[in-house]
């Protein structure tokens, strides 16, 4: 497979060689350490027996459209592959917690997720490690009438992260996919969601905190392939120091996807002179009988009025800024899951994950 053309906006800001583990696009590293994976409940107790995590045969044919990045992760030797299965009808009060810890210098994992019909579950995936490069390939199916909240929290250290995701949403399911980015030195995310069942309902939220020299590039594709489907995308990024955030998207309404209702918004907060925020939210609409289809982007600095108000209440300039950045990022984070998961993430914010000063 040849290196992709930078004329495609997917690769415009992070060309393939810059996210490749060795920088040589033709290289497939042979020394690879498998990642450690653990599944439990968020409160620390064991996951129910019915929710299974099992090794996945890496050689089986999969029904996904691999492009270079997905094919690359699949081609990595011993990267490990697991399948998480949530059975039909499973209802959990407590969110599932999947921790992934990379080892060695280059590490990666493939995870297939099957969310059973009529189930109601939440899954928080945390990626942590100090490896140089990590590849995460997630794919899966949300079966009919399932309610599923999924959050991926990137807490990597000085790591390049290549994250590829492809999910298929079947009829009448309600799925929320959230991304919280606080770690990693360079992240390239390619997240694709296919609404293939009537009445499928999707929300994608991003809360990206970029500081130092971080480079966070997320591409989100939402494909309405059938009638009466609904999607919303909200992506908030803050960008300070010399960091750069990129939000690109493709919202596609296929011919015949009547009654589709979709919208996407990318908002960027620029906090320093050396920071940069780029957005390319794309629309392709091949159907005229749509409820609505739109997108928007906005970039701007912190509101001076809000800063003044907080400072007049006794906050220092840096405290006021931290608070406003946290609330900006919380605007999308609070949409990601139920109260339990949100309270847990709240502690993360109070613990200083979004504090730059």
């Amino acid at each position: 497979m040849s290196a992709p053309d930078r004329a495609e906006h997917l690769w415009r800001y992070t060309p393939w060689h810059r996210i490749h583990p060795t920088g040589n696009p033709d290289d497939i590293p042979v020394e690879l350490s498998p990642a450690l994976v653990n599944l439990s409940l968020l409160d620390g107790s064991e996951a129910p027996e019915e929710v299974t995590i099992s090794a996945l045969d890496n050689d089986i044919e999969r029904d996904v459209n691999d492009d270079i990045a997905a094919a690359f992760i699949r081609a990595l030797p011993a990267s490990g592959a697991v399948k998480v299965t949530i059975p039909d009808g499973m209802v959990l009060d407590q969110p599932l917690l999947l921790t992934i810890e990379g080892g060695g210098d280059i590490s990666g994992i493939q995870i297939e997720i099957s969310v059973g019909s009529n189930s109601q579950t939440e899954l928080l995936t945390i990626i942590e490690s100090g490896v140089n490069w990590f590849g995460l390939l997630r794919s899966g199916t949300i079966h009919p009438s399932a309610i599923f909240n999924d959050i991926v929290l990137n807490r990597l250290e000085d790591t390049k992260l290549l994250r590829i995701e492809q999910f298929n949403l079947l009829s009448d399911c309600q799925a929320k996919f959230g991304t919280i980015g606080v770690g990693g030195s360079r992240t390239k995310g390619d997240l694709r969601y296919f609404l293939t069942g009537n009445g499928a309902n999707l929300q994608v939220n991003g809360s990206i905190f970029s500081a130092g020299e971080q480079h966070n590039d997320h591409h989100v594709e939402i494909m309405h392939e059938i009638s009466h489907t609904y999607s919303r995308l909200k992506w908030h990024s803050s960008c300070s120091d010399k960091s750069r955030t990129i939000g690109t998207g493709m919202l596609r309404i296929a011919h015949g996807a009547k009654g589709s209702d979709s919208a996407q918004v990318f908002n960027n907060l620029l906090l320093s002179r050396d920071a940069e925020a780029d957005s390319i939210p794309e629309l392709e609409v091949l159907e005229n009988e749509v409820v609505g289809c739109g997108h928007g982007t906005a970039n701007g600095p912190i509101d001076e009025g809000q800063m003044f108000y907080l400072q007049s209440r006794g906050f220092s300039e840096s405290e006021a800024q931290d608070l406003l950045v946290a609330s900006f990022l919380n605007a999308t984070m609070k949409e990601m899951g139920g109260n339990t998961i949100h309270n847990w993430l709240d502690k993360l914010i109070l613990g200083g994950a979004y504090t730059q000063t």
Partner: protein
């Protein structure tokens, strides 16, 4: 119009053609010799010939753009195109002296009538060169230069040399290289300091011959505190084979100057319309592109403004209608290089009968450009389930003081609006035409009235048969 041509272009009302009466017609195909011959025929200075030849070699090397509608682009047969065709012996200044057949063409398009009523000057280009040119005496006496580009080069070589290819270099893209190699005709305008041209000046471009390539080059320089409104219209006959229109437009708005450049493009649907338009706005200058794309098979056109001076402003209003077999890939580009610069882009498109309308835009704000404001709005209507609408905007913001907004929406014509108009006695078809004209209103209100009336008629005509 022949039957096979009608199959291709439908009921295009400017689609007749006159018998070809060329005084000089080059063989089809492009080579260095063709480029040198064009230059020699025009008796151009050596520097221009050299630029042409360099541009030709760049064109040959440069690959076809990989974005836009590559399938249609790759359908262009450059060897089948005629790169130069001269219809008159000289550019006339008296309408009565224009050759009868050409005069008849422009009479049918209403050009001399419009000049008498509401224009400050007119250039009419037929095939490769201008056949008629005039400018109001009072403007001429104030030092306004309005010539066709060939005459501009002959009479004001120093100004042309200073600005030619500086805003759109031939290395910019394959089609700017092609234009630079074989350009012929177009407008050259210079407005001196402080002169405000109160009536629009107009250029009208007509392709008459089959497989013709029209490569006009327009250069407009508006000096400090001056202003001008330039209007261009384009039509071509309806042949079943393709023609190529690949223009380059360079605008320079000096400190405090104001340029409005309005286009109503109504090429027949056998024309590839691949145009590079770019302006530079210096301190407190304003550049407005008002761009209407109704015709052509494929249009790829993204009028650009480089905001180079503090306080400069860019405004782009673009509308596109895509009917059967058409792809309007239009948009805008604005680059904020200086502080306190502002830009506004409004794009509206309608797709019908399997047509495809795309907005492709780019806004960049550089690190040094403080307190910039950007607003981009794209609205699209899809009138049936065979058509397509796309939006491809790019925003690159590298300054934390910038406030930028972009929004886009795609919808169909509201049933409530159609119902309301029908309760007031309109037929469904009339109601649709009214709604579509209302949708385009932000564009038409910026046009001179005669153009706006004509555009409304044209859209009502396009809406015929849109119901059921």
């Amino acid at each position: 119009m022949s039957d096979d041509a009608r199959d291709v272009v439908g009921d295009y009302k400017a689609g007749w053609h006159d018998p070809e009466t060329a005084t000089i017609r080059f063989d089809s195909g492009l080579s260095e010799k063709v480029v040198r011959d064009i230059s020699e025929l025009k008796n151009e200075p050596e520097w221009m010939t050299e630029i042409r030849v360099k541009a030709y070699h760049h064109f040959v090397k440069q690959p076809m753009p990989t974005w836009g509608n590559t399938e249609l682009l790759n359908g262009i047969n450059f060897d089948a195109v005629t790169y130069f065709l001269r219809s008159g012996n000289k550019t006339e200044v008296d309408w009565d002296d224009v050759p009868e057949d050409i005069k008849r063409t422009f009479d049918r398009l209403g050009i001399p009538d419009a000049e008498q009523k509401w224009l400050g000057g007119v250039t009419a280009q037929y095939e490769s060169e201008a056949v008629y040119h005039s400018i109001r005496e009072d403007l001429e006496s104030q030092g306004v230069i309005f010539l066709d580009m060939d005459a501009g080069l002959r009479e004001h070589e120093d100004i042309v040399k200073e600005y030619f290819c500086k805003i759109v270099p031939y290395q910019d893209n394959k089609f700017s290289a092609l234009n630079t190699a074989v350009w012929s005709g177009g407008s050259f305008i210079y407005v001196p300091k402080g002169v405000k041209v109160d009536m629009p000046v107009q250029a009208y471009f007509r392709i008459n011959a089959k497989n013709m390539g029209q490569f006009e080059r327009t250069l407009i320089i508006v000096d400090e505190g001056a202003s001008i409104h330039y209007v261009e219209g384009c039509t071509a006959p309806a042949y079943s084979t393709e023609s190529l229109h690949s223009a380059v437009v360079e605008l320079i708005a000096h400190k405090g100057a104001h340029i409005r450049y309005s286009t109503v493009q109504n090429w027949s649907t056998n024309v590839y319309n691949l145009v590079t338009k770019r302006a530079v706005a210096h301190e407190n200058a304003t550049v407005e592109w008002v761009d209407g794309n109704i015709g052509s098979k494929l249009t790829m056109k993204y009028p650009a403004v480089i905001l180079k001076g503090d306080g400069a402003h860019a405004e782009v209003i673009s509308v596109a209608y895509s009917g059967s077999g058409q792809h309007q890939d239009a948009g805008a580009k604005v680059h904020h290089l200086a502080s306190n610069t502002t830009s506004s882009i409004l794009s509206k498109s309608i797709s019908k009968d399997g047509g495809r309308g795309s907005y492709r835009g780019m806004v960049t704000v550089s690190k040094k450009a403080d307190n910039c404001k950007v607003n981009v709005v794209c609205d699209a209507l899809i009138l049936d389930d065979e058509s397509q609408s796309d939006t491809y905007p790019t925003m690159e913001i590298a300054n934390p003081t910038c406030r930028s907004e972009h929004e886009a929406s795609v919808s169909k014509v509201s049933d409530e609006q159609v119902f309301y108009l029908m309760t007031r006695g309109h037929t469904e078809e009339e109601a649709m035409a009214l709604i579509v004209n209302g949708f385009f209103e932000p564009f038409t209100r910026e046009l001179p009235m005669e153009y706006a009336v004509e555009l409304n008629k044209l859209m009502a005509f396009e809406m015929e048969g849109s119901i059921g």
